[in-house]
């Protein structure tokens, strides 16, 4: 250790300087470290003497610059020395080395010339670098999202062999019986597993109960994915059987958080829903399958379930064949593909239908829908991400065009310099290479700054991104993002560099020199033409971007204006799961206890100041799909397949009032609809239309298709509610009263969502509601506390996010296009100053000259816009799947895009036109 590191620093400055010294290579530090500290100490003392404490701060600028530069150079020295030691060139290689030397030296010269040129026009250089940094930075940022979400390999060995098996409508998922058949008979899948999500409450004596997600998995679940536990083991076949031992495999996150990462966790027990369960294993942190909840759930689950428990199958139950609730995954056998699996499963489907005709809908085939894991996990995000990548690439292209234009302007100004160098013997190739070197340096500086821009942009993106974007937590700058940025940077350098390079080198040397470098020649006009073409392309690109953004905005507006059927404003919601009674009660008694609990809870919540009304329901609008087989109007159905489907909800009487769902006919549910009174049900308009047509549904009857369930009388019809998200169909709904649900709706759920309508800001009463729940039962976990507004917004979150970004990019594109056209028109005005002077001297009116210039700008604008419109139609057709109730050729969006662009073009041309009018013909003519 050099001495300077051992000595105690005399003050903070010296301490900081010692740390800076670490940037030097070790050997250099060994040799000069002490002397440099001494040097610094002297310098500090001098400066303090001369300028006081402020001086000691002021020297840091030059000290840091010096250290950055010379530490890097010293490192280069060290590298060169090592290289020289390893490759001392044999004499025969000397020639090649000399040639290399020559090439290096011309490169060095090129770089030097380029840097000199950049410094001569600092404002222009800064503009170019900033444009590029923004364009490249935006690209890196979006690419890092695409990379993390789409491109990175899935974290499973041989992930391309993994498939997700599902059924086409109306079954969608797989039933237990079907799963067992597939597992036994499939030849195209070498391993198959099933799973199903379940919300659980983590319980324990010394910790608060916590509501979280678990996944029930069949025996070979981990085997199919080929993942190993970090500690312990996964499940055995024995544990899959009904009544098997209670065991669980923990996620890394829950192991850390709930059990403090205890090493001896395997074999210990944890409380799940009040029962003790033995921990048999812990998964590594990277394993977060299947995705549950949101990408950065507040409960720390971070995308995956908190734990996995065995799926208990009843192999022989017929009911188990009708209940399609399992997700099934598999690994294809060697040499088999997705199509093979699909074919095999379709054959199985036909045999199931023949074997159990009662269980399957007669009119529809039992068809499989097998997707690759990648499609199943990430497929939905692809069009959105690709459209963003496309838009940001367009922005970069437009930025390139602008930079090319700026360089062309400068090339015009440097025409004479180039002509002289060419006259002095610089070859045309050399000049082109020189110009390209310059644009590459611009690109590299821009790209480097762009990475910094991307660092910032990624933070903003991740903060704003919808939480259901998969793998969001992995977004960041890694090797592939840097590689992408480097490649795009270099490509960018060529794209914007080629036109100016060729234009600059293409001049006739003699002509240019004769004219003294003035710019009224045919060559200059040629450059002007190049620039005009570039701007035309730029305008076309801007129109494509704008129209895409316009179409997406229209889609979003259409979605947001879709009538929801309920009023989400000012409604607080949270999920509650009171613990199961201990000791266990008979089913009916337990149900009565739940009804009592919610009655009491709701009456207390109602008493909180600011609460207008409150209710509980099993599900919330925008929640998701679920359907039961029912019977209507006393009919019977011998086969499940003959029974119609309807979506159930179980609600307390205040539900409709709290959500603002209006009554169309009859009456709403009342507090008097209790277990001992006649069974009633409220249906929605879609249900009424489907089963009663034009007749009056009030007084009609329906019941769930199960033995011994009572008929319920339809007492009311309410308006349709978008219950399956904004883009989904309106389902046929039936609302059962909570107090009767034990009889009329299979069971009385303990987990319910509380909805509270408030007169003010709903978040203000959250604490009060929590307190009420805890006073009633401290063991009741509260989860998913949010507002109904937020839930509705979240269902369009991804769309809102990408639309906002697209609009941002489109505005940027529009701005850049405006700058581009301004540059071209302004340059043309200054080139034609003489001509304009002559015209005005000959009596042309200012208005004529102005409109001539305006016309010129508009002509470019119109040509560009027409080309852009064609491109917009083509790209909109590609993006069609993302639009909502908007056609790809939506005249409003397209018209608005073209109009916005033409307005900007007009403004951008008006400024030079205005200036041209101000030209004094006397002055211009004398100047020539």
């Amino acid at each position: 250790m050099p001495e300077y590191e051992r000595l105690r620093p005399r003050d903070r400055h010296e301490w900081a300087f010692r740390h800076l010294l670490r940037l030097y290579p070790h050997a250099f530090r060994e040799e000069f470290g002490d002397a440099m500290v001494e040097f610094f100490r002297d310098r500090l003392a001098d400066v303090r003497g001369a300028r006081g404490p402020i001086g000691s701060v002021a020297i840091w600028g030059s000290v840091i610059m010096d250290t950055m530069l010379h530490a890097s150079l010293a490192r280069l020295d060290a590298l060169r020395r090592t290289v020289a030691r390893v490759f001392s060139p044999p004499p025969r290689a000397a020639r090649a080395a000399r040639r290399e030397d020559w090439m290096l030296s011309t490169l060095r010269q090129d770089v030097r010339i380029a840097i000199r040129g950049m410094r001569r026009t600092p404002a222009l250089s800064a503009l170019i670098v900033t444009t590029l940094a923004l364009g490249l930075g935006a690209n890196s940022a979006i690419f890092s999202v695409v990379n993390a979400v789409q491109l990175r390999p899935l974290p499973f060995p041989e992930a391309e062999r993994l498939v997700q098996v599902a059924m086409q409508d109306p079954y969608f998922n797989i039933s237990e019986g079907e799963f067992v058949d597939i597992r036994r008979d499939s030849k195209t899948l070498s391993a198959v597993a099933a799973f199903s999500g379940a919300s659980i409450t983590l319980t324990g004596d010394d910790v608060d109960p916590e509501r979280t997600e678990s996944t029930q998995v069949s025996e070979r679940f981990f085997k199919v994915l080929e993942v190993q536990p970090m500690m312990g083991r996964t499940f055995s076949a024995e544990e899959e059987r009904f009544g098997g031992p209670p065991v669980a495999v923990l996620s890394h996150a829950i192991w850390q958080r709930r059990l403090g990462g205890a090493r001896d966790v395997v074999g210990r027990t944890i409380g799940i829903d009040g029962a003790l369960v033995t921990v048999v294993g812990v998964m590594p942190p990277s394993f977060r399958y299947p995705p549950v909840g949101s990408g950065r759930a507040a409960d720390g689950v971070a995308g995956g379930p908190a734990l996995w428990v065995p799926l208990r199958l009843r192999y022989d139950s017929l009911w188990g064949r009708n209940n399609h609730y399992l997700s099934v995954i598999g690994r294809t056998a060697p040499g088999r593909g997705i199509a093979d699996v699909n074919t095999e499963l379709n054959v199985m489907g036909r045999s199931w239908k023949a074997q159990y005709p009662d269980l399957y809908f007669p009119a529809q085939p039992v068809a499989a829908s097998v997707r690759s894991f990648r499609d199943a996990l990430l497929g939905d995000t692809r069009p959105f991400l690709l459209s963003l990548l496309g838009a940001v690439a367009f922005v970069l292209l437009i930025a390139c065009v602008n930079v090319a234009n700026l360089l062309l302007v400068r090339a015009d100004a440097r025409r004479k310099e180039l002509a002289i160098r060419s006259a002095l013997g610089a070859s045309r190739t050399r000049l082109v290479r020189q110009a390209l070197t310059e644009s590459l340096i611009f690109a590299i500086v821009g790209g480097t700054l762009g990475v910094l821009v991307a660092f910032g942009a990624i933070r903003v993106l991740v903060a704003l991104a919808p939480t259901d974007l998969p793998r969001l937590q992995d977004v960041g700058i890694d090797g592939s993002v840097l590689l992408f940025t480097s490649l795009v940077t270099i490509a960018t350098g060529f794209v914007f560099g080629v036109a100016p390079a060729l234009a600059g080198a293409g001049d006739d040397t003699n002509e240019t020199l004769k004219e003294g470098g003035k710019t009224s020649t045919t060559a200059a006009r040629g450059a002007g033409r190049t620039r005009r073409r570039l701007v035309t392309a730029e305008i076309a690109l801007a129109v494509v971007t704008l129209s895409g953004a316009g179409l997406m905005t229209r889609s979003l507006l259409n979605l947001q204006h879709t009538p929801l059927g309920f009023d989400p404003r000012g409604v607080l919601t949270m999920s509650l799961t009171p613990p199961a009674p201990t000791p266990p009660l008979a089913v009916a008694e337990a149900a009565a206890r739940s009804v009592q609990f919610y009655d009491l809870l709701l009456s207390r919540v109602r008493a909180i100041p600011g609460v207008q009304s409150t209710a509980a329901s099993q599900r919330l609008p925008v929640d998701g799909y679920n359907a039961w087989s029912i019977l209507v109007n006393g009919a019977s159905a011998a086969r499940v397949a003959d029974a119609p489907l309807a979506t159930p909800d179980i609600v307390t009487p205040g539900y409709f009032a709290t959500l603002g769902i209006t009554l169309v006919k009859g009456r709403l549910l009342e507090a008097t609809d209790v277990a001992s009174s006649p069974f009633v049900v409220v249906i929605n308009e879609s249900m009424a239309k489907a089963h009663w047509g034009g007749r009056d549904p009030i007084g009609g009857t329906l019941r769930v298709r199960a033995e011994g369930r009572p008929w319920a009388t339809v007492v009311g019809v309410v308006r349709d509610v978008r219950a399956e998200g904004l883009t989904g169909e309106v389902p046929r709904m039936m609302y059962f009263p909570y107090a009767q649900s034990e009889y009329s709706a299979y069971y009385t759920p303990r987990s319910m969502s509380l909805v509270v309508r408030t007169s003010g800001d709903p978040s203000l009463i959250t604490a009060a509601v929590r307190r009420v729940v805890h006073e009633l039962d401290a063991r009741t976990p509260i989860s998913r506390v949010t507002t109904l507004d937020a839930l509705v917004a979240q269902s369009v979150g991804a769309r809102r996010f990408s639309t906002a970004l697209l609009v941002g990019f489109a505005v940027l594109a529009l701005l850049l296009a405006g700058i581009g056209i301004y540059g071209v028109v302004a340059a043309s005005v200054s080139q034609r100053a003489y001509e304009i002077g002559v015209r005005m001297a000959l009596g042309a009116r200012a208005g004529d000259v102005g409109s001539m210039i305006l016309r010129e700008g508009m002509r470019t604008g119109v040509i560009g816009a027409s080309l852009g419109l064609a491109g917009a139609l083509a790209s909109a057709t590609l993006l069609r799947s993302m639009f909502y109730e908007v056609t790809a050729w939506d005249p409003t969006a397209m018209g608005a895009a073209v109009l916005a662009l033409l307005v900007v073009v007009a403004l951008a041309s008006a400024i030079p036109a205005w200036r041209a009018i101000g030209v004094d013909p006397n002055k211009t003519l004398r100047a020539e």
Partner: protein, 125 residues
């Protein structure tokens, strides 16, 4: 074995022209041994503040000139007082003295040329 142009045993004329900062450092040392900070102060003084050396640039220059055999660490210290043990003093080698002289000669020839071209008024003082 090929002779390196900056071989300390070789012709000092092969080592010129020098970089301005190198020339100034060597010039300062021609007047006697200096430690790092002393070199910096003299260089700043001689160049009328135009050349300012920070620790990094100074010690990289010193190392290079040392490797090229133009200067070396001095065993003798000018004075024992106000002297810190850790200070390192440098002095010119004979080769270094020859190189800095050759460079000065080259610069003088250039100045003569400029005077002949009537770009400079000959300095009669």
């Amino acid at each position: 074995m090929p002779v390196s142009p900056r071989d300390p045993t070789g012709d000092p004329r092969l080592a010129i022209p020098l970089r301005p900062a190198d020339f100034l450092v060597l010039l300062v040392l021609a007047a006697g041994a200096r430690h790092g900070y002393g070199i910096m102060q003299d260089v700043e003084h001689h160049s009328e503040g135009r050349v300012q050396l920070e620790a990094g640039s100074l010690y990289r220059t010193i190392r290079r000139l040392e490797e090229e055999g133009m200067l070396t660490e001095s065993a003798r210290r000018p004075a024992a007082d106000r002297d810190d043990e850790r200070r390192r003093y440098y002095r010119l080698t004979a080769y270094g003295r020859a190189v800095v002289a050759a460079e000065a000669d080259r610069l003088r020839a250039l100045v003569r040329l400029a005077e002949a071209a009537r770009l400079l008024v000959p300095d009669v003082g």
